[in-house]
């Protein structure tokens, strides 16, 4: 393609790929980012905007989310662009006793991990969130949760990377790896082959297809999330809101069994936030439906009913569109980060499911260190792509 080969090829222009490109370029590493469509054209452009840290499972993921939050706090200054970053807190509303029990345990563990998340009373919750339904029995609240415009983040990272010498190639699909025995030495694209010693796969749900060409079975499955967008309204929602049922089911799948058939299939749970422009983002679903990204009236109605139950005044609000994104689900809920030992030259950073926005910056930061061969301050063992036994098919 170009005369001089880059040091590193990044496949994927979502939040993980663009932030890795930025942090690598900042180190002076010569990067080419290849994107099949447009920046934030996949999952990063079809998600909500929550950086909800209190909902993360205590452990390595939570630790990373906190580090990522630290990067976000100074990112607007660093990149010189507005990212609509807003640290205005987050709430998980609790409707039922069994949810309360699960949430109590989660809150205990999170407090032990150093997050000052509070269990608050119904009255306190209503004081913070006047629009919430009076039937809730309590809530959690943490000041440290935030939100951001994920598309703005990807675009700003891209511009900053470009300014530091990275080459960004859009509308260029990577079809396969170039292999020399087990070693990855480049990629084949529609525009021709590109060689590099190191290739990072940051293609989210589209990573498995590419992995196949290197004899890998990457265990990422698309999980569809449908979200509604409202008309612009006056400020109504403070910070981000999740429903306890969503978190409780995530941490205690037995609770999900109680949900109705249709709810179970859709994986229904409320997520609610308001953009700087005043639009509400009302989620959502978690469905295994392959790679199709359609929205359905069934889901729209279910999301609407769920939202109005928890925020009754939403019944007067108009929704103006819906969209669906594909979250990269992994069997153990952790992303695949690091070098693929059996394929020298190949690196992976994919599989964040719904945590991509929260973890994108730190992921890019860590991967830049890993790829550049710099000292890595993180224990990446839990994220090792080789933890999946059947990763290699050849």
């Amino acid at each position: 393609m170009n005369a001089k080969s880059p040091d590193v090829i990044i496949v994927g222009g979502g939040i993980v790929g663009t932030s890795t490109a930025y942090f690598l370029a900042r180190k002076g590493v010569k990067v080419v980012l290849l994107e099949a469509g447009d920046i934030a054209g996949g999952t990063s452009g079809a998600c909500d905007r929550a950086i909800m840290i209190q909902s993360k499972n205590p452990g390595p993921l939570l630790k990373m989310a906190l580090a990522s939050a630290g990067i976000y706090e100074r990112l607007e200054d660093e990149l010189g662009e507005t990212l609509e970053y807003n640290k205005k807190g987050g709430m998980i509303v609790i409707e039922r006793e069994e949810e309360m029990k699960v949430m109590e345990r989660i809150v205990d563990r999170q407090r032990a991990s150093g997050i000052d998340v509070q269990l608050i009373s119904r009255k306190e919750a209503i004081a913070i969130q006047p629009a919430v339904a009076p039937h809730i029995i309590g809530a959690t609240w943490w000041d440290g949760d935030a939100d951001v415009n994920p598309m703005a983040v990807c675009l700003a990272m891209t511009r900053a990377a470009r300014a530091k010498g990275a080459k960004i190639v859009l509308n260029t699909r990577v079809d396969s790896f170039i292999m020399e025995k087990n070693r990855v030495t480049g990629v084949n694209t529609a525009a021709g082959p590109i060689r590099a010693d190191r290739v990072l796969v940051a293609a989210g749900v589209w990573s498995p297809e590419l992995g196949k060409t290197a004899g890998l079975k990457i265990p990422i499955i698309p999980r569809k999330g449908q979200i509604l967008v409202s008309e612009r309204i006056a400020p109504l929602i403070n910070g981000n809101v999740l429903s306890g049922s969503y978190i409780a089911c995530k941490h205690n799948p037995k609770l999900a069994e109680k949900a109705g058939q249709s709810e179970k299939k859709l994986g229904l749970g409320l997520s609610l936030g308001q953009t700087k422009n005043g639009n509400l983002l009302i989620g959502g679903t978690r469905e295994f439906a392959g790679y199709e990204r359609s929205t359905s009236s069934e889901a729209i109605k279910a999301i609407a009913a769920n939202a109005v139950r928890l925020f009754p005044s939403l019944k007067n609000v108009r929704i103006i569109r819906s969209f669906a994104g594909l979250r990269p689900y992994t069997p153990d809920g952790l992303p695949l980060l690091g070098q693929v030992e059996g394929r020298p030259g190949m690196y992976m950073a994919a599989g964040h499911e719904g945590d991509g926005v929260a973890l994108g910056p730190i992921t890019g930061n860590i991967m830049a260190d890993v790829i550049a061969g710099d000292q890595v301050d993180w224990d990446l063992f839990p994220f090792n792509p080789e933890r999946f036994e059947d990763l290699y098919t050849s």
């Binding site: 675009l155 008309e231 019944k315 569109r321």
Partner: protein, 86 residues
């Protein structure tokens, strides 16, 4: 005519200048313009401005306006109150 004064998307007040800048930033589809500028994302959902956005995209890329793909239509195609569908 000054491009920064000519509004293309009435709902979100996006100017021709902003749309041209988005093209320079890499947008090659209506969706690329949407995520960079908010054009086509207001109450009318692009019924008024999408054809204009496509013209700019086509012009800047040297193609025919009809070669630019229309953004995916998704329900609801008209604003609806949540209370009406529960």
């Amino acid at each position: 005519m000054p491009d920064d004064k000519l509004i293309v998307c009435r709902c979100e007040e996006v100017t021709l200048d902003e749309i041209k800048k988005a093209v320079k930033d890499g947008a090659s589809t209506v969706s690329g313009i949407k995520k960079r500028t908010r054009a086509c994302m207001g109450m009318c959902q692009g019924r008024v401005c999408q054809s204009l956005v496509k013209k700019v995209l086509a012009h800047e890329s040297g193609n025919q306006a009809d070669s630019i793909e229309t953004a995916t239509s998704r329900s609801p195609v008209r604003p609806i109150q949540l209370g009406e569908i529960i």
